[in-house]
Assembly symmetry: D2
Homo-oligomer: 337 residues x 4
């Protein structure tokens, strides 16, 4: 047995997402170990800690961040806590991987961006995992290799089985569409500069929010993007993306390993939620985050300014929603851009 350098990670928030991160970091990522868990539900924290190779339960999130046994922090607690905890990690000088969104509002995002800039080093990585999804990566590779020629339009669709309880129409934008608002500029190599939001019939399975929603996004490079977000699509968890260029088009396939013939149908299965769909993306994202820490270099994950940028686009969409689907320009300059 060898004793080698290992990044000691504290995980704050072990709901579905945080527990999955903790398990991946401890059991599937090279060079890392989860050493501390914090959750307002102590039983849950204990249960997840017991699954780890060598983790203890922290009294609270701030104790975890400050702990001498924690080299780096994962924030997977409620959205409203993200900014405050990220600021604490920055203050402690520890690398932090914060689940999206960086904060529920652009204003709060800005405090983190500013704090990080003041500190002078990039400590904050954001969990926009699609950037590590092998399918998106392959799509970007083909765009970059100019297989499609200059990109002209793109179509994105995000559908989930159910929106779950609570949440209004704006939450669809800030919490779900936010993935598109990050990944499309990353994919197309150009920020979003103008948006409009559109709605028609809403599903009776959606109580409090317009569902589905249609959005038009325009990049600085004048690519027009249509986006459909449909949270109560019921049939399955389904992310689609097609990019259309001057020479051709490329799209994500429906990921499926097995096709079944039964009952007069040839079919592939949809996952019920994002966990299996993005399992590889999360693992690769966490591996890159750990590798970057070990090697003392910036990670290739989304940054705090990326998070602010996505948040500003989301704000513009909410403004369009509240103003008769008018076209809204995304507010542009900020520290860190």
């Amino acid at each position: 047995m060898l004793f080698v350098v290992t990044v000691r990670i504290g995980v704050i928030g072990v709901g579905v997402m945080g527990a999955d991160h903790a398990r991946k970091l401890d059991a599937q990522v090279a060079g890392a170990a989860v050493t501390a868990i914090a959750d307002f539900d102590e039983q849950k924290a204990k249960a997840v800690a017991a699954e780890m190779r060598a983790a203890t339960v922290a009294a609270d999130s701030f104790e975890l961040i400050g702990s001498a046994d924690v080299d780096a922090v994962v924030i997977a607690s409620r959205d409203s806590t993200h900014a405050e905890l990220a600021l604490a990690a920055i203050a402690a000088g520890k690398p932090v991987m914060c689940e999206k969104p960086l904060a529920p509002t652009a204003a709060e995002c800005r405090t983190v961006v500013d704090a990080e800039a003041a500190r002078g080093i990039g400590l904050v990585s954001l969990g926009f995992m699609r950037r590590f999804d092998p399918a998106y990566v392959e799509l970007k590779r083909r765009i970059t290799a100019e297989e499609l020629g200059d990109v002209l339009v793109a179509h994105a669709v995000s559908r989930t089985v159910t929106s779950g309880p609570g949440g209004d129409s704006a939450a669809t934008i800030t919490n779900s569409a936010i993935h598109e608002l990050d990944v499309m500029p990353w994919l197309l190599g150009s920020p979003i500069t103008a948006v409009s939001w559109h709605s028609g019939r809403s599903s009776r399975h959606s109580e409090f929010r317009q569902d589905p929603q249609i959005m038009l996004l325009r990049t600085e490079s004048e690519i027009l993007i249509t986006v459909e977000i449909f949270l109560n699509a019921r049939y399955g968890y389904d992310t689609r993306c097609e990019v259309v260029g001057e020479l051709g088009a490329a799209a994500l396939t429906t990921p499926a390993a097995v096709v079944v013939d039964r009952d007069r149908r040839r079919s592939v299965a949809y996952p019920a939620d994002w966990i299996p769909r993005y399992s590889d993306a999360y693992r690769l994202e966490l591996q890159e985050w750990v590798d970057a820490i070990v090697q003392g270099r910036p990670s290739t994950l989304a940054t705090a300014p990326d998070g602010l940028r996505a948040s500003l686009v989301a704000d513009a969409l909410v403004e369009s929603m509240n103003n008769g689907s008018m076209t809204v320009r995304v507010s542009g300059t900020f520290a860190g851009q």
Copy 2:
């Protein structure tokens, strides 16, 4: 050999489309024979007539319409001639199958609708062949059978290899998008009441028109439809349509009979143009048109009012195009609706 009743058909205009109609009517449709051909290019008329079992070349379109050897007329000449020729056929009391569009402007369409209404019987059928495409028919069957629950949004994409020479941005709407403007209301069972038109980067392979174009359509039933028309898509002739409902979604597949593995790729072929893609649709449309004539009943093809309706939606899109992508309501009432 038996001598049975056969509908004698005159075909006006034997370019790519008209020649294809003539061949199908004479060689693949039961109960019909092409007996007369008219085309301003007499050599072309003669060549196509020679392929028919028993056709002569008419001196001109009006002679053809008036000929005692012609029971019914197909109009496949230039768009600008459609209305005039349709009016002549109505005046002659002969059933007419007019290629889309009924006329380049809604105003002209209206003259045909009014003339037909004055005559008191439905003589005009329109060549919106997608209504007979087995794939669209199957899609409509599933919607009608409520397999998807109430429809909420739909996505349509029409791509062609090249726009050919000439034509401006408005022509994309009135000549190409027009298929979507007819088929989507037919598919969804509700007329289009409001539209907006959007554009971004345009392909350098398109000289005189914005290409691609994005359109948002709203049906009376509040279904929101996104439409992409991309005439210089180059990679192939490709029609897509997805309908999303409360319980599920359904879409046209890429039609392909054979899949080939070669050169590190698994691929299916795209057709170069609409002829192979809609070959079955044209044949079935023509068979239904002939059957209806033989049986003395209205055909199930699109009607003159349908043509006017599509034209009014096209006009609204052109208005949006000329007015900063603003939302335009489709002008509503007309004779024959």
Copy 3:
């Protein structure tokens, strides 16, 4: 209305297959009309005749064949009657389209081949409709165009929902596998010269026959073909064919016009039986048969010698089945080859 030359067709046997032929000939084929129907079930004959434009019910099959109102004959009655009726049509000098198989035994097939040869003209066409299926035609086109290089192996699969009542293991070969025994040599351009028959577990849904069955066929050109025939596959009617060459492979796709997303599945539908799967093939086959009669030329349908050839291969497979899966050479020479 015009009176044009029309082939008057008598249809013998109007079960599922014969009634479908009658309907297609009368309503979807140019230049043909069904004028006589014969069936041992007179009610059924009357019902189908009533659907035709101008058909009467014949007293029996032989009266139909001899009728002055019948120019050509379709045989779609029981397999055991095919040879006798084909002989009568040959004797009457009338073109005949006989459903497969030409006869249940090679010996009977030979009587038809010989009678036709004695007559000196090709009167018999066989209903091996796969030769007209657009997918098989496309597959053959790609082979002929040498897209795949020299063909080395092929894989064929025929699955149906249920075998229906009755029938033994040999019937699977002579009645179902017979389609493969005709289409594969046609596709690959080389006759089958040796075969072996293999079996393992049999489905409990098959009472009296081994099901599925695996066959190995070898063409004169040394292409090795695996065949699976599974009649009680239950999940759907499914024909598959893959051809593998030195440069690549090509295969039939699963034909489907619409894909549906529902209940955690993305699926396309299988037909319940062969009628929808081969609807186009039947129509095109019948059109070609009628065209050839009108034009006084041999049709491109399978011939009586083709039927005998397939039957000899079937006999060799039955011999292998009865002799421990040994390899059996197909008996080679016969009149008409």
Copy 4:
């Protein structure tokens, strides 16, 4: 930084396969580090060692196996060395992951099986990585869940771009088909008891071996399996597997993340070799191997007896090949079964 228990691994043979294992173990597997490399090509050994976090180059394979800095051994050297090195690892009492095959002959495999049995603990794991491929795992899950009913037949196809230089027809069986001989019994839950080997035309791109080859395998449970191995298939690296049961069928899909529309084609890409196709399988296999070592339990990888079993089936196939495709029973009993 934390110091945690880590399995120190020595890798013997760093050709394409071994270098890939070393990289995955050191950079993508939790709880492992590569500490020693041996290769007869010292430059190559040094280069790969330099990529590791903390590895040295061993003088030779036996020094590596005996090294105090090596807890467990990966054997990825030439096939002919596998048995000898595995025996050395067993003698050293160290867990060993040996690439397939365990040995080129069943007799040599048996020496390893016996040596391990004599030692009394399971030290040998075999790199039959398909057992860890998520697609095969999903296929097995569906079989086990009885979604397909009792399995009746199966079809396997393994195609590669080129066979590379050297190798005869027997090598196709012992080196390539061997994967099918391991994975099909694992998938179907029943050992192979009888086989036959078949050949037809051979590709002109194959100099010294029959290519493609067709095999029929029969399991103890009487499932009949067709196998095609085609090493010079040229078009791509392609593994297919379909399992057909009483209620339905299930098959591996063509793995592809992105579909591209260009040049009149809609296509997905094939990999050039097995590395990308089975990248996940290798990683998961290595992680399980390491986890089992850390937890002191037998891994779920294939065992030495599994390797012997596959080798005995391969021998039977070679016997069939050398004896006119006769059916050969697999020799059955051995220590460790």
